[in-house]
């Protein structure tokens, strides 16, 4: 299967096609990107503290969130301890994912190093025994 994929890529010369695909993706993203804000329109709502009501005065086309965008304001206590979306699970998942991906990547490097090392040893032995031949 893997060899078949390699052969397909090499025969069809997919390298230029991939470059075109990336260029198309960049173009599409540029087209879909939102236009810069109108200077006449009101600025986005500022980040709100838990004891304040969110000021939802932004235009309907603008993204709406009460999450801080300009800067973070520290507090000692959790703002909403009984939220419907469990934040601890999300934080733990994100932290676990970081280490899972990094460890998996390090393991893949270690395996590849081992494979190349073994191949180097085998070939070196074969070459040295070949030179000893009369």
């Amino acid at each position: 299967m893997r060899e078949w994929v390699v052969t397909c890529f090499q025969r069809m010369r997919l390298a230029p096609a991939m470059s075109c695909l990336v260029a198309a993706l960049v173009g599409t993203a540029t087209l879909h990107a939102q236009p810069p804000p109108n200077p006449a329109s009101p600025p986005p709502a500022p980040a709100t503290r838990p004891d304040q009501q969110p000021q939802a005065q932004t235009p309907t086309s603008a993204p709406q969130t009460t999450a801080a965008q300009e800067g973070f304001v520290p507090v000692e206590q959790l703002p909403n301890p009984q939220d419907s979306v469990p934040a601890p699970r999300l934080v733990a998942s994100a932290y676990a994912l970081v280490w899972l991906v990094l460890m998996g990547y390090l393991y893949s490097i270690w395996r590849r190093l081992g494979t190349v090392g073994r191949e180097l040893d085998t070939l070196s032995r074969r070459l040295s025994s070949g030179t000893r031949r009369p």
């Binding site: 800067g71 304001v73 959790l78 932290y95």
Partner: protein
């Protein structure tokens, strides 16, 4: 010199820093509008910064390779390109985990997220090109890497130019002191880890070159026989 003398001490330092980092992050204050989930910031943003750095390392090494044809530059470019893609996976997954809580959605096709996805796709394309591109893919890949590097400033400033859900670049310079410490601690830890992994990965490419040279020598031996 670095690999022989400093590799092990730096590896130990990185391990100690990563053992300490979770405690520093837990001790940091909550953010007033996002609460606990904002703690993802302490590893999402540093990894994003290191990813940007990796794209620059890949792009600049590719330029050096195109100009000088030094194999070592190509080795560093492959290592940095692969790491940019790996770190991109982490950034693109930890971001939605944070967004689900902060914005109420997993993903939004807004400029920062979309341009980050495009940047990641460019480096995936780079890796596919290097792996399956055949002869000449080193030069073509270098071009793709330079294109990817040129994309980074647009990704970085997209939050300031367009109105987005994503926090702006002003967040990091204006961090309160109690948040600044854990954040920069994480940045340094991930940066050191990145340097170590690039060295190991570039070493793998060097060994692959050695192997190729040995195969050529073996073929020559067979031809002469």
């Amino acid at each position: 010199m670095f690999q022989k003398r400093l590799f092990l001490p730096v590896a130990v330092l990185v391990a100690v820093m990563f053992a300490d980092a979770p405690f520093m992050i837990l001790a940091a204050p909550y953010e007033s509008t996002m609460g606990l989930v904002q703690k993802i910031f302490y590893f999402h943003a540093p990894i994003g910064m290191v990813m940007f750095l990796s794209t620059f390392v890949c792009g600049i090494s590719s330029i050096i390779y195109l100009v000088t044809r030094r194999r070592s530059a190509d080795h560093v470019a492959i290592a940095a390109g692969e790491l940019a893609a790996v770190l991109g996976v982490i950034v693109l997954v930890t971001g939605p985990l944070w967004a689900r809580k902060a914005w109420g959605v997993w993903w939004s096709w807004e400029p920062r997220l979309t341009s980050s996805l495009v940047l990641w796709l460019i480096f995936v394309a780079y890796l596919l090109l290097r792996r399956y591109g055949g002869p000449g893919s080193d030069r073509l890949g270098a071009g793709v890497a330079i294109f990817g590097m040129a994309n980074v400033p647009f990704v970085y400033w997209s939050v300031n130019v367009w109105r987005t859900l994503h926090p702006k670049t002003t967040v990091v310079p204006t961090l309160p002191p109690l948040m600044r410490g854990p954040f920069w601690f994480s940045v340094v830890a991930f940066l050191l880890l990145y340097i170590l992994i690039v060295l190991i990965r570039a070493g793998l490419e060097r060994r692959r070159d050695d192997l190729e040279a040995l195969y050529l020598a073996a073929e020559d031996g067979v031809d002469h026989a």
